[in-house]
Amino acid sequence: MRRRSNRLEKGGRVDRTRPVRFRFDGRDFEGLSGDTLASALLANDVSLVARSFKYHRPRGIVALGVEEPNALVQCGIGNGTTPNQRATRIELTDGLIAASQNRWPLLRADIGAINSLLSPLLPAGFYYKTFMWPPGWWLRYEHWIRRVAGLGRAPPGPDPDHYRQVHAHCDVLVVGAGPAGLAAAAAAGRSGARVILADEQSEPGGSLLAEDDVEIDGRPAADWLPTLIADLQAMPELTVLTRTAVNGLHDHGFLTMLQNRAAHEGTARPRCTLWKVRARHVVLATGAHERPLVFADNDRPGIMLASAVRGYITRYGVTPGRRVAVFCSNDDAYRTALVLVRHGVEVPAIIDVRANTAGPLVDAARAAGLTVHAGHAVVGTSGWHRLRSITIRQLSGDGQTCTGRRRTIRCDALAVSGGWTPAVHLFSQGGGSLAWDEAIGAFLPDATLQQVTPVGGCAGTMSVAGCLAEGHATGGAAACAAGHEEIEAPLPRVLEHSQSLPDHLWTVPHGRPGRPLATHFVDFQNDVTAADVHLAAREGYTSVEHLKRYTTTGMGTDQGKTSNVNALAIMGEVLGSDIPGVGHTTFRPPYTPAAIGAYAGRTIGALFDPVRITAMDPWHRAHGAAFEHVGQWMRAWYYPRPGESMRQAVDREVTAAREAVGLLDASTLGKIDIQGADAAEFLNRVYTNSWLRLQPGRARYGLMLGEDGMVMDDGVTTRLAENHFHMTTTTGGAGTVLDWLEEWLQTEWPDLDVRLTSVTEHWAVAALCGPRSRELLARLCTDIDLSAEAFPFMSMREGTVAGIPARIFRISFSGEISFEINVRRRHGLALWEALVAAGEPLGLCPYGTEAMHVLRAEKGFIIVGQETDGTVTPFDLGMDWIVSKTKTDFIGKRGLDRRDLLAPDRKQLVGLLSEDPRDVIPEGAQVVETVRSRPPMTMIGHVTSSYHSPTCGRPIALALVKGGRSMLGNTVSIPLANRVVGAVVSEPRFFDPEGERMHG
């Protein structure tokens, strides 16, 4: 088919000296620099660009900007391909590749068109009533639904682009750089306020870029603009951001904006930047969206919004057709007719639903020789891949029916205007309420608790003069509110057409009365018709929230920008209610679709989460350690020698710790420095046991409960001096415990003289354990008497180890004689290396977290978070000994007395010895008393820790079992996926039960 050029000889803001090549649906085309993909397609006479979502009807471009419902294309190829991009918002760049969506095999010959024939079976909500029978066929249905559903295609691989984020603060944020926004920014910026002006288009100007019949200060608007923009850019505290869509207005003046960067800045730049802005005052100058009229077959390619037709001519120098009719209910569409005529395009008719038309625009149209059919409506259209003709009839007085004969008018494009809908989305997102304005026929911003002021089109002011005045006043006031002095400046003088009030005809009657409104499209993107709205009402879905969700009107990527008001107005007609009675749905961010990558920003991949390592980490890595995550920490897990399995390595490490000397990096444990006259009293309140009489230099194990009596954390705390303690916590509890303690001090006991400081990272800790540990330490530490008498178990000494000042704690988690050596982190690696070197002849063996787990489990020492889960009390653990009976108060004391916590059938800590000595029971396995052939079986407990114990020469496990302490010696069963493991209930300690070894 021969394509003609729709590019006008002159006019438009495109650069005719710079052609741009692009490809659409496999065909090469040429456009101009400054085009969008939509304007370039129209220029190349491509009117068919899509197939509708459900019925696969041929569709064309409808709008000029973000409100475009139809022209969604797949943009780009490979991993960078992006679906559902609006052709009206894609800036044309050289080499652009785009394709239509939702059609197979071709846009012009789409099998999906069969859905159009099946349309009576596919009204709104059809999927709630179908695909249910027979039930076994669901997976077959699902397979085909997946093939057919959706629009574009997701990219096949990782996103090759990168995205950035940035925080910003300003006194005034102006959203939209049309006349109202520009005036607001100028007034605020003049006063020296910090101003951000954001507009989603590629250049500021807004509606002024698309109007050629407005004069400002004696010049055409397009010529007046550059002067003002230059003024703005000269203001040092004013930032103009183009290609930046304000997507969300959240609480307290917080906004999110998406700045598109890649297209014009090249691939080295991020594809887009997410701005997170805190503004003291927000001026919304977001303008208004034109809406179509709802009439039979109103969706054919070539039927467009009247202001869009006007914009394509004035901004891009493109006419959508050669014979363009106009159908409207207001004066504004006449401006389109006039601009068409000025550029030599034939306008066969203006069809105006208003019987009485008057005013300067109507007069100008008549003076230009145009035929105006007042009191008429378009009742039908023809043409499949492109509009061919329209049929008009006269409207009855009440607009409900048609009278008179039918007339057919040939045309290849139709400019439609059913009125204007102020873009109130951001105002509403920010919690502002809306009020219906009957004159304009739209919801206008009403009240808000935030510092937000709507101006111009989004506030219902449609004249350029009004926009400039409102923006000017509001910008100045906002700057004042932020503490800046308003600087006076004169308002520009505007020359423009005045307009009379519009009329509202929500449903254009069908040409043939009694026919269903099944092709009266309301929401083009989701294929929702007026018939669907009637159906929703018949089925009882009359509330506006139900209307939206049942018909899916307004739920597409355009969020109903051109359809919402029409839909709820039609519902109002059906219900016999006024529109405020129908109401509106909630507006939610994002205002326009946004790349998910922008919300991730740079905290992906290696930067997603910090990996925390200790001072000794370089040694662990150099010596082949395997690592495991403990929260954000990477801890050495075990140190396999070449050829060793994990089991072999761990067995060797455990054995060395019991028989010679082991070395563990214990740096990650939480450490809190506690000072103050009430420090001991404070410990007495937060731990279950007694602390007042702990001597300086002595250490004690402490258990911490929540107020509910459940075990929260544990650790060894040492008294360094009368009013000075060093507390340790679990690795995972370091931050939580400090926060917990601070909370109690600040909110409950502010009179206690206690100060807490975290020193978790200040101290690197190398823990020596084993029968030869004292011998090793003596080689490196000569200024402390290390004998058992001088340095008893559970005490602390200060001295020097390998020339490094150190605190040494005799604490044992392994059950062996143990010395935990604390040095400043900077010396951690040097200490470790010295210990390894000196320990080599003694058989020193570094061990990791796995061996540490085995050693403590052999001794029956609990790990908080493994044997406990927030529902376990000290009594459940058999740790009655640590709960003071004499203290009048500690956190959790009353909680422990609750009936449920004293019940005899609670889960209690026991040991499990598997009957088959090869069975290491999986941790987390469920324990049952009676095995059945299949579930359900009554669970009586679960396995909390389980390892092979080289010390005992067999597997050992700890478990919480109901009434476990009265089941010693019994056999229980642990059903696994394919077998049942039997185990004998034992005491929860397997080695050195008296604990003599560590006292030495």
């Binding site: 910090r194 001072a615 020339g803 400043r824 290396e833």
Partner: protein, 198 residues
Amino acid sequence: MADQGAPACVTPIDVLATPPGGPRGAGIAIRERRLLGKLVVRGDTRDTDFIDTVQGTVGTAPPTTPNRCVFHDTLAVIWLGPDEWLVVTPPGREEGLLDALAAEGIVVTDVSDQSTVIRLTGPRAREVLAQGCALDLHPRSFRVGSAAQSRIGRIRTTLWQVDAQPGYDLLVSCSFAAWLWAWLTDAGGEFGVRVEAG
């Protein structure tokens, strides 16, 4: 590894072994201020003895206005809370200062190795920080002598402005320092990053 007597010192940025260098006219420069002394001092500002003692020992009174940093001689004293300050000293000076304060009964804790300090300078330092820090760093709101505890990206950071270039000191826990170093390098990518020796 230790030379005679003095044990080797390794910082979290040492471990990254980032070679110094970078483009001339880079938007930012980063370097670790290695092994600075850091002391947390606690006390009641209504107690004039406490104020006087600190003044006498450290050389300046602790700032009582929130989020201020006072520079005195080679020390910096940063407000962390109504009863909490951080004293930052050149390497090695913290021990004597701690002993002097403790001798007067002041609650003081050595936290020198709890965190490290990264100095960030350059004409684009503000823009780089803005990519991850929600504070308002505009000169009208934040200047030399301003300090704040906040987040950069996901990481708790204490920062104070040291010069008008602008230059900042960023205090970060040792185990998070490598992440912050990587984040700064990434955020500065658009503007050019110069790495200086610590």
